[in-house]
């Protein structure tokens, strides 16, 4: 089976507002998912919508989430209920001449589907590697890896990247023609998630240097 480079838009995944900002190519969707650190997972329980922030990892067309086996949320999701997963990268504030045209530049992904529980220990371990490397590239080499018992105590769900879309907003403000004459500054304030100086654990033993992958930590290209 060949995998198309595009996701097929469906009624629920098609971008309706400003369709020119909607994208369905896997490469872009993967890029956004690889840069973000948190997804917002939406699901229905007791007829109520819930939106919970979670870490995650991606491998190919699979998105992994994990947590303790006791998690009520994961227990709901593993039943195969409908889930909406959203990742948002805020790239900047768009400063227009008129407040009406103030906006934000962003890249977001909205996915629809159902999650499946991973049962196989080898598959779970591989997913935990993907989750670790997503958050901190190099961490699988650097830290103590999960024991069989830890893998067992962890619930891992896989969510397919099959149905969804990206939405991208970039560039200058779009002001009304008559407003371009106003003596008001307009443009963009770029925003980025930036790492600060690593803070050592208060119980860190002497003589342990900060590893390179943490010193050079960054998100995106």
């Amino acid at each position: 089976m060949t995998t198309s480079s595009m996701l097929k838009p469906t009624d629920r995944s098609k971008v309706k507002r400003r369709p020119q900002k909607g994208h369905y190519d896997r490469e872009l969707i993967h890029q956004i998912l690889d840069e973000a650190l948190v997804i917002h997972v939406g699901f229905i329980a007791n007829n109520q919508p819930f939106v919970i922030p979670m870490g995650y990892g991606r491998d190919g067309d699979c998105l992994y989430i994990h947590g303790t086996s006791a998690s009520r949320m994961l227990k709901s999701l593993e039943q195969g209920i409908d889930v909406c997963v959203t990742a948002t990268l805020l790239d900047g504030l768009v400063i227009a001449r008129s407040l009406f045209h103030y906006s934000m530049n962003y890249r977001s992904v909205v996915l629809f589907g159902r999650a499946t529980l991973l049962e196989d220990e080898a598959e779970k371990t591989q997913a935990l590697k993907v989750l670790s490397e997503h958050m901190v590239p190099g961490s699988w080499e650097q830290a103590r890896r999960p024991t069989a018992q830890e893998v067992k105590a962890t619930k891992v769900l896989v969510f397919p990247i099959e149905e969804g879309s990206a939405k991208v907003s970039t560039g200058d403000p779009k002001d009304d023609a008559s407003d371009y004459e106003l003596p008001i500054w307009a443009g963009q304030i770029p925003l980025k998630i930036t790492p600060g100086v690593p803070i050592p654990d208060s119980k860190l033993a002497d003589g342990i240097a900060i590893p390179e992958n943490l010193l050079k930590y960054h998100r995106g290209g």
Copy 2:
């Protein structure tokens, strides 16, 4: 009627996983909402969960969202359907000695309730001021304000900050006792949304300086 300084936990708003991280005091909830720029709004349409990122503003116990009158999402929300609103501030990566204890430090708010459409022009205008000032403090003074026609073309919904909770995770990793002997660096990588140098609009007229509020733009304390 006096307003309690605490939100009353309900079955859907009570923090179950790690209840020690759950908070119900308004001041903390307001602080998190005032620092974040984007909320993830969850709702049900056609029996499916949807999670959409949106800008917003806060005034007292009211959260405002807005958009074009044509927005299908706002049309759904104004029907008074159940909504879950989540704001997440990612404060850092928690680097443990074992991957099992890797985690993130964050402050998040999850709110439940129903939105109401604002109809009164003065109330709408005031809400638009709150929305503008939330995104860019000082913008109401600096940019051209909305005309009556623009106010009319904008749909504004108000969402009550009545039922919900904050969840806060801070500090050092919590490793297994035996792992503290390992020669592995542990600690935190702080993360913050930081503004870059403002980029002028390509159509900006000569001689318009960047205003102070944009030069000094930052989120949080």
